[in-house]
Each structure stands twice: as structure tokens, then as C-alpha cells.
């Protein structure tokens, strides 16, 4: 993604941090793909739930990295929501596996 040209770039003139951010994005993206593999592969239901949960967590990291990359805080709310409520699907799915009835 093309970072907007911003005046504040002098502070980190070496581009090292930018390089690190970019690399981290790839690495985290790769982690997402690994989780995806588990999501599709299974074999058990809890495995898939776990994979989805892992996807959520990696997505938070990815969002933060994207925010750094684009130098914007606009993704804060999204990351906050995933962190705060992303586990709901994990909880709900697990509860379904345990009891079938998620609201008892």
C-alpha cells in the first residue's frame, strides 16, 4: 500500500521502521493464512473455532500495523471492537458445541 507522503517523515528518515512495519504486515498476514488453513482443515470443531479466534487476534495486529503504515488512527475503533467483542463468536460457537443451546 502506498503510504501518503507526509511531512513528519524526517524523524524516521532511515525508513527502517517503515521497513519493519511492512515486513511485520507480511509476517502477520502469513500467520493469518496459517490460521485460515486450520479453519478449513479442521479436523475437529474446536480446532476451527480456535482458528477463527486466531484470525481475529491476528486481524487486530494487522489493523494496528495498517494504521502505522498509513499513519492514521482511523482504525482504532475497528481494532477495539474486534478486541472487545471479537471473542463473542468464539464464545457462542463453543457454547453451541457444549450445550447446543447457546442461551439457556
Amino acid at each position: 500500500m502506498n503510504a501518503p507522503e507526509l511531512p513528519g517523515i524526517q524523524l524516521f528518515g532511515h525508513g527502517l521502521v517503515e521497513l519493519a512495519i511492512g515486513t511485520a504486515m507480511y509476517v502477520v498476514g502469513f500467520a493469518m493464512l496459517l490460521a485460515l488453513w486450520r479453519l478449513l482443515r479442521g479436523p475437529t470443531v474446536p480446532d476451527r473455532i480456535l482458528a477463527l479466534d486466531t484470525l481475529n487476534v491476528t486481524a487486530i495486529a494487522e489493523l494496528m500495523l495498517l494504521g502505522m503504515h498509513l499513519r492514521t488512527a482511523i482504525y482504532f475503533e475497528a481494532a477495539l471492537i474486534i478486541a472487545m467483542l471479537g471473542f463473542v463468536s468464539t464464545v457462542v460457537l463453543s457454547k453451541y458445541v457444549i450445550r447446543r443451546d447457546i442461551v439457556e
Binding site: 527502517l16 511485520a24 487476534v57 502505522m68
Partner: protein, 125 residues
Amino acid sequence: MNVFWELLLVALLFVGSFFILMGGIGVVKLSEFFRRLHAPTKASTLGVGCVLAASVGYHLFVGSDPQPRELLITAFLLITAPISAHLMSKAALSLRMDEWPQLPGRSEEDTHVPPRPDGGDDESY
């Protein structure tokens, strides 16, 4: 000073992404559910924590959003990760995965919950 912070941020990013990757690798590589369950805890604690710290620092110095509120994300993760883990393991336990396919490196006792030391009967999982 600048270089120090710069290197710190790079280090944080490196550590963070490394552990997140570990989480991913763990989820794929490990042979059995309960072992895999350990992976995302790593990712969500140290991995995401480091990235968030890096993010706070970066925004602080770049000046795009010089506020530490992203720490709240970590706070929420620290609360929710145990809930998820707890429920997922309960789900796995409730399935008593007896007919799991035999995976390499898996020892027999993995799937069995040992009896409670006091002999109490616990069916709640």
C-alpha cells in the same frame, strides 16, 4: 535518542510479529487441539501487545495520533482471551475426542483428563 526509539520500535515490531507468527505456526503445526490452544494465547499476549506498544510509540512520534488509548485494546484482549480459551477447552472436553485421528507425536494420555485428586466427580466440563 531518535535512533534508540527507532530501534526500540523495530524491536517491538519484530518481537510482536514473531510471536504472532509463532501463534500461527503453532495452530498449524501442533498435533492436537489442546496443544494448539496454547498458540493464540501467545499471539494475543506478547504478539499483539508488542505491536500495540509499537503502534502507540509510532503514532506518538509521527504525530498522527499521539494518544495512548490503543492500550485499551490490550486491556480488552487480556480480558477476552481467557474467556475464549476457557470456553474452547470446555467445548473440546465436552466432545471427549475419543475418535480423533491418530496424529504423529500424540501420546495417548493427551485426551484424557486425570481423575481429581480428591476423588470428586466433576461433570461440569
